[in-house]
Symmetry: C2
Subunit: 166 residues, 2 copies
DNA sequence: AAATATACGGAACGCTCGCCCCGCTTGTCG
DNA sequence: CGACAAGCGGGGCGAGCGTTCCGTATATTT
């Protein structure tokens, strides 16, 4: 691959990352191209569809979340981290909520598996009610993100965590 | 106003009510017109913009919620009712979440006032933690709706209500 | 029944946006 | 340096949607 091509690809990716985080997945590709200082055709040469570009960005973020879950944080801390990350990145919030674009299945599965491990541990130590399932958690994260987005803070995560106690 | 005009207006309103409830605010006006058995021009004669039509529908639903809040239900029951109503009516859920179209200010204010009264009472009787504010509630409803929509049930409302206890 | 205002349907317009195409530029390699 | 492939920009196409327009139809009034 030619050097300028690789450079442009990275520029597009970085720009898309920033733009999608701020303005969400709805921004036109032309706008991403403009801010990256390239033509729309260049974007489409590197990412065959808009969805492919979104997926590249979201996959990266979900991967970072999974890594965080494996880094030794506790359950509550990770829950708060996910909500904060979604608040800081609108594209992630929209993808998790299932609005149109989907999170790549394998990345989502890895995240959920990591989250489920944290949950199991928290249930063993008595911090979380034993009836809660991993599925419940995903829904709760979506709800907390919606709440946090509307308010601009994550204060209400505490309420949910309090409700999860045995 | 001519008799057929009044009839058509009602048909459009009823159809919009059903279509927006099922498919959300995103459905094209042409689709509403088609299902109502009228032309698009007829819709626009009775409702100058799409937003006006949406507002008419949403205002009605918010009004029904406010009436429910004044009907003597308790706090938890009303909270669950709001979430269920939003789950049953996608347009309401989207309007409350602030996605694009706005709830008419006066209708929203009336609902919030009614909800705040219920909250105060619940706090006096010791069912809800005294630090919770009416604003917190609105956010929580949005979050619970997002959760409920993703899962298709409202089981997780209990978790939030549990977290609200003193 | 004739006259008139009112309402109707749906084609058409303008705009946005995802995506494609093609003439030109630029990096790479002998 | 020269030839050639690889890459680039941005105008253009088609689809979807909100909104408008106007020739036709119908309710109302006398």
């Amino acid at each position: 691959m030619r050097a300028d091509a690789r450079r442009n690809r990275q520029r597009v990716l970085d720009t898309a990352y920033a733009v999608f985080a701020t303005d969400g997945i709805g921004v036109p590709i032309d706008e991403v191209a403009r801010r990256a200082g390239v033509g729309a055709g260049t974007v489409y040469r590197h990412f065959p569809t808009k969805e492919a570009l979104v997926e590249a960005v979201v996959r990266d973020r979900i991967g970072a979340m999974t890594a965080k879950a494996r880094s030794g944080v506790d359950f509550g801390g990770f829950f708060a981290f996910m909500v904060e990350a979604s608040l800081a990145n609108r594209a992630v919030a929209e993808a998790l909520a299932g609005g149109g674009y989907r999170v790549p299945a394998d990345a989502e599965a890895a995240l959920q598996a990591a989250f489920a491990d944290l949950l199991r541990h928290a249930q063993r130590t008595g911090d979380v009610h034993p009836d809660i399932t991993p599925d419940d958690l995903n829904s709760l994260v979506v709800g907390c993100v919606a709440t946090a987005r509307q308010r601009g803070d994550t204060a209400l995560v505490r309420i949910v965590l309090a409700g999860l106690r045995p």
